[in-house]
Symmetry: C2
Subunit: 337 residues, 2 copies
């Protein structure tokens, strides 16, 4: 049986499109997964998104009229209100695409657009580690560092929908160059990319470390995963690099704790696979650098939705905006869990 | 004639108590101003607060029944919901004082408590430079750096009422020691205290500067005001110190712009008296370090309420919490002014 709160979530990425039919409690009823092939151009990608949506409905015999809404998580920048994808770097040829309108016209289902980091934050808030919280910050740490803010129980957008750029908080003036062009951003100090860069620099300098061997002698093959592997095998240099990066991540989180006084920070992304090597230094830095009361008030936990965070986040957007009263996302809130 | 929206604002500081009868548009109808004499103890201070409130009513012949609410801005930490002053460093002997209850019992008027920085933020939002904005950050730069956040048109508190500690964002790991015990906080780099410390260090090192003369040869007499004076007279060292400090202030503001995507940053506090020497480098740093779209979306302006920010902020707290629908603070919002 399909409840009124069944929605479709579409996670549009630069390399893949993940689509799911999801119920009001975040259960995935049907799932479709295909390549984006972004180079084939706009129309081909939109067609694949529509096919994915039709496919999940067909899998369980659901009609569009039975779907309450479609939520799309897409790379920014976006015009969320208008439902327009402005010009994402990883979707070449997309220039002010009225994606909401296109999907509504084709599927006949109300559609809402949200940037991917915000959607992921809402996904964890509705269905994952942040359930029941009022003030939650979601941070994703992988090649980059992104984030989304759930404040007073709602996604916080700011005036242009671009709030939550956690990774581009400057915490070291004149620090290493960031991909954004700035210097000393959190992302330039604590992301997977930053960790790999540090390791490559040490290997290039001839510092003795098993990372050189693991990379087959080519420092360009060094990734954050390889650094974590070397650290796990006791390599001192690798451990040092990770410890320093995670201390910076903790400083960034301490800043968020002082600014937002959140009850929960949810950390997701590939780097969380290192587990305690991430969470312990982050916790330590918060306890050391944030005010005592704010530090005491916040828990730092790992994201729960894993690879489904994008598609469940997109579904959460659909639920939160279509049925703000009824949806799980707007359910009773606990001040403490 | 007294409208239904007449409120009393009380700004309780460590050295003075400012009390005003204020109408719904932020007009001060009557004002009382007296010393705190905090060392005389809790009961004496509360009695002076009550006297101040009775005094402003008597000045214009208003009865307590004609006053919609009392708002109190007090130094934190506070329990805002319970209306309890926990243990502010500058009010010795105050330990979990149920100030809301005490004032309600004595005056018979509903009373609301808020921390002073939040109250000031709300004051600027309701009656000052932030009128009509949805997303506004208030920052006060004087001996310390504090702040308050108005997000989605409302004061943002976080889970324990302690959000908005703008001054204790770390922007330089291993930077100078801050009054809070941490290192490299914005306050340790850009407050009046930080500026004076920098100047004293240079004078003590024997760097040639007119700041030494202005201080009568005693580097302990150097204040931020003196540094600004020397800078105004063309002293290179003083200008250098101010420029560096204001660049750090700008980096802090750029971080807020990336995190909150606000439409307005309102800067108040004594240091704003240096005018363009503050606002120009701050603007430059935002344009340089924040994302283009967020930087474009934000205006940075000087606070408008001056010395009355505390008492008008306290009045704004009373209005916003007593009459959330009717008050100026909840009036129609403009996305752009």
């Amino acid at each position: 049986m399909v409840s009124e709160l069944t929605v479709i979530g579409i996670d549009l990425g630069g390399t893949k499109i993940s689509t799911a039919l999801v119920d009001g409690s975040g259960r995935i009823i049907a799932h479709d997964y295909r390549e984006t092939y972004a180079t084939e151009g706009l129309e081909a990608v939109i067609e694949r998104m529509l096919d994915g949506a039709r496919c999940v409905m067909a899998q369980v015999g659901v009609e569009p009229s039975q779907v309450a809404a479609v939520g799309v998580g897409a790379p920014g920048p976006l015009d969320i209100e208008a439902g327009v994808v402005v010009a994402p770097p990883n979707l070449p040829g997309w220039d002010h695409v009225p994606l909401k309108q296109r999907i509504e016209d084709e599927l006949g289902i109300t559609t809402f657009l949200e940037n991917d980091a915000n959607a992921a934050a809402l996904g964890e808030h509705c269905f994952g580690a942040g359930r029941g919280t009022e003030h939650m910050i979601y941070v994703t740490v992988s090649t980059g560092i992104g984030g989304g803010l759930v404040l007073d129980g709602k996604l916080y957008h700011g005036i242009g929908g671009m709030a939550g750029e956690v990774g581009h908080m400057m915490i070291m003036p004149y620090g290493p160059r960031c991909g954004c062009g700035n210097r000393g951003c959190l992302e330039a100090l604590a992301s997977g990319t930053a960790i790999a860069r540090q390791a490559r620099e040490r290997v290039a300098r001839g510092v003795p470390t098993m990372m050189a061997d693991l990379a087959g002698g080519d420092s360009e093959h060094i990734t954050a995963k390889l650094v974590a592997e070397a650290a796990g095998q006791g390599d001192v240099e690798a451990r040092d690099i990770l410890a320093e990066a995670m201390n910076y991540l903790g400083i960034g989180m301490a800043n968020l704790v002082n600014l937002f006084n959140p009850q929960l920070i949810v950390i997701g992304g590939g780097l969380t696979n290192i587990g305690a090597a991430l969470f312990e230094p982050v916790r330590r830095a918060i306890d050391r650098h944030a005010f005592h009361a704010q530090a005491q008030a916040v828990r730092v936990v790992r994201a729960e939705l894993g690879d489904n965070v994008g598609v469940l986040g997109a579904a959460a957007v659909a639920l939160a905006r279509r049925e703000p009263i009824l949806s799980a996302c707007a359910g009773p809130r606990l001040r403490d869990r």
